[in-house]
């Protein structure tokens, strides 16, 4: 790995921070030339020139012709551009019986996705996904981000994967990465973003302060009766004639469809599920005052009618001022949290996105 940004701290620490500051200013369009970089970062012009030279050698920065001279006259500055395609990152989300990874450039543009079955071994599945995407690289792979379902230990997995891949690997909860993905690439609203994944339990991810702070937790104990095995049994008892389906979401879509068609038992079950989730959701809303709550996991397939049930449930539990501006949305967890893993990998390696 020759990316100079990854050298260890210590003697190299200051230089690495300066490199990151220069790169970030170019990435965000805060500076477009060496003299603007000196102004924005507070570094001297010779230092900036040296750093830009290193970044150009790495292919991360290129020169793009000349800009306008300043009003006082003088030389027209050489314009610099951040090359978002000079590095790629892999973001992987584990869950739903699969590991699903995306290969992205530094701007979040995805060129390929790779999906493999978990077969009970998440670590092996992540390695398989990375192997599948390494075959499709168009640039050097900078780092890997991984989102795991609640109970899996992130730190252990990060160490093991870093060793196996010879690359920096960053791991976090998939609900947490869902919130981060919404913020970075999903058009998530300004303010606190919360992602709630209902699958084997209820995972919650929170993204605060424009992405500089994010964390995940598990709310299963506060919202019982939502683990997939029992929800599946309930749906099957309401809809005994639905054929065996290959994924949980398809069964939930059948429930949505039956409820929309006026099947009373299906409608009742939807309301019942909204009530169970609503109890936990009310606490989230009251304490965190989120701008947006994104629902993921199989139950997200219940779609906007279910969000309306959740909204009225919340309105019964909380005063109007706490719920009136709340945006509820549904997301495809595997995709959003894979993009969150991309955001995590980009941020940890290059500190480009947040802060």
């Amino acid at each position: 790995m020759s990316l100079p940004l990854n050298r260890p701290a210590g003697m190299e620490g200051l230089r690495r921070n300066n490199l990151r500051a220069v790169l970030r200013a170019l990435y965000r369009g805060e500076a477009r030339s060496r003299s603007e970089l000196a102004l924005v970062t507070g570094l001297t012009k010779p230092t900036v020139s040296t750093l830009v030279g290193e970044l150009m050698e790495e292919g991360l920065v290129t020169e793009q012709g000349r800009g306008e001279a300043s009003p006082g006259g003088g030389k027209r500055p050489t314009l610099l551009r951040f090359e978002t395609r000079a590095r790629q990152v892999v973001g992987v989300s584990v869950g739903d019986g699969q590991a699903r990874g995306v290969l992205s450039d530094l701007a979040g543009t995805v060129s390929a996705m790779h999906v493999t079955d978990l077969n009970g071994d998440p670590e092996a599945a992540v390695l398989e996904v990375v192997a599948g995407l390494r075959a499709q690289l168009d640039a050097k792979l900078a780092s890997v981000g991984v989102g795991l379902p609640g109970p899996l230990s992130a730190a252990t997995m990060a160490d093991a994967l870093t060793g196996r891949l010879g690359l920096p690997v960053h791991v976090a909860g998939r609900a947490e990465l869902g919130a981060l993905g919404q913020l970075a690439y999903g058009g998530g609203a300004d303010g606190t973003l919360v992602s709630v994944v209902v699958d084997d339990g209820v995972e919650v991810g929170v993204c605060l302060s424009g992405g500089t702070m994010h964390y995940g937790s598990d709310l299963s104990a506060l919202a019982p009766g939502l683990e997939w095995s029992s929800v599946e049994a309930e749906i099957r008892s309401v809809l005994p004639d639905v054929a065996v389906v290959d994924r949980p979401g398809a069964l939930v879509l059948a429930l949505r469809s039956a409820a929309a068609a006026g099947d009373l038992r299906s409608m009742h079950l939807c309301a019942e599920l909204a009530g169970r989730l609503g109890a936990a959701l009310a606490w989230i809303v009251a304490i965190l005052r989120p701008a947006q709550v994104a629902l993921g996991g199989p139950l997200a397939e219940l779609g906007s009618p279910f969000l309306e049930l959740l909204r009225s449930d919340a309105a019964e539990r909380l005063p109007a001022w706490q719920t009136s501006n709340l945006e509820l949305t549904v997301v495809y967890t595997q995709q959003v949290s894979a993009m969150g893993a991309v955001a995590l990998a980009v941020q940890r390696e290059l500190e480009l996105l947040f802060g």
Binding site: S111, A112, H114, V115, G132, A135
Partner: protein, 266 residues
């Protein structure tokens, strides 16, 4: 060190584009390529003589049966399926993201206020045909649309069949406001049949199709672009990774992109 490319119809639009993209990458990597026409669903006995253990193979769509695939996978140094997946044999594959593409098409139509959809089927013996229809049915449920079984028309990825099915539908006097076709060549014929039936596209009916090509651009057809030569190139890369000693499992999905043209968005 030969890379074999198995296809059931080397001259067809889709297959020839895959072969073109794949051959370019394989030859650049110093592999000689041999295109073999077999199948569809050829038996193990139909595999050619001369397959060596260090060779690799790309299998395009449903050229080989599961039994032949299993034998091939065991025999050579790497196999990649292109737009095909098997239940029985775990062979890695490269496909377009059919679910994403169909989602983009239906979301586009719904955002244009279309609610009464007709679907023109692909060939259900092929993975692309099955996945696109399953994805369409999911989208219908997600958007709370109603599409009765009579609105699922036969097309079989054959433009002439699609055209006939749409004409039959018009003769039955059915009313609808959008047609989604499982590929763009069928969509172009559907569009012509609608106009022959004196319907205004996109005024009365929007027409969209899966995949893109110069014909779609010429006809002003809204599509999700799914570059087939790129599919061939990506498949060749997956094969090369195996031949270089890597173990690949699972499947790689290539993203699709909505391209809005004159056939929708009135």
């Amino acid at each position: 060190m030969t890379a074999w490319i198995f296809t059931n119809d080397a001259g067809a639009v889709f297959q020839s584009a895959v072969v073109k993209g794949a051959s370019a990458v394989l030859e650049e990597a110093g592999r000689s390529t041999r295109v073999v026409e077999v199948g569809p669903l050829a038996a193990p006995a139909d595999l050619p003589d001369g397959l060596a253990s260090q060779d690799g193979a790309l299998v395009v769509a449903s050229a080989l049966s599961d039994q032949a695939l299993a034998k091939l996978y065991e025999h050579v140094g790497g196999v990649t399926l292109v737009s095909h997946m098997t239940e029985g044999v775990q062979v890695p594959a490269v496909l377009h993201d059919n679910a994403q593409g169909m989602r983009q098409l239906v979301e586009h139509l719904v955002s244009e206020g279309r609610r009464s959809l007709v679907y023109v089927r692909g060939d259900l013996s092929q993975v692309d045909g099955r996945q696109r229809e399953a994805a369409f049915r999911d989208e219908v449920l997600r958007h709370g649309l109603e599409v009765s079984e009579e609105r699922f028309l036969e097309g079989g990825f054959v433009p002439g069949v699609a055209s006939g099915s749409v004409s039959d539908l018009l003769r039955r006097g059915e009313r609808f406001d959008a047609v989604v076709a499982a590929d763009y060549l069928m969509a172009i014929e559907a569009l012509r049949a609608l106009r022959t039936g004196a319907l205004d596209v996109p005024g009365d009916v929007s027409v969209v199709g899966f995949g893109d090509g110069p014909e779609a651009d010429g006809a002003g057809l809204t599509v999700v672009a799914a570059d087939v030569e790129e599919l061939g190139r990506r498949a060749a890369r997956q094969l090369l990774a195996q031949l270089d000693g890597g173990r690949i499992t699972g499947h790689t999905l290539l993203s699709t992109r909505l391209v809005v043209r004159r056939s929708s968005g009135a």
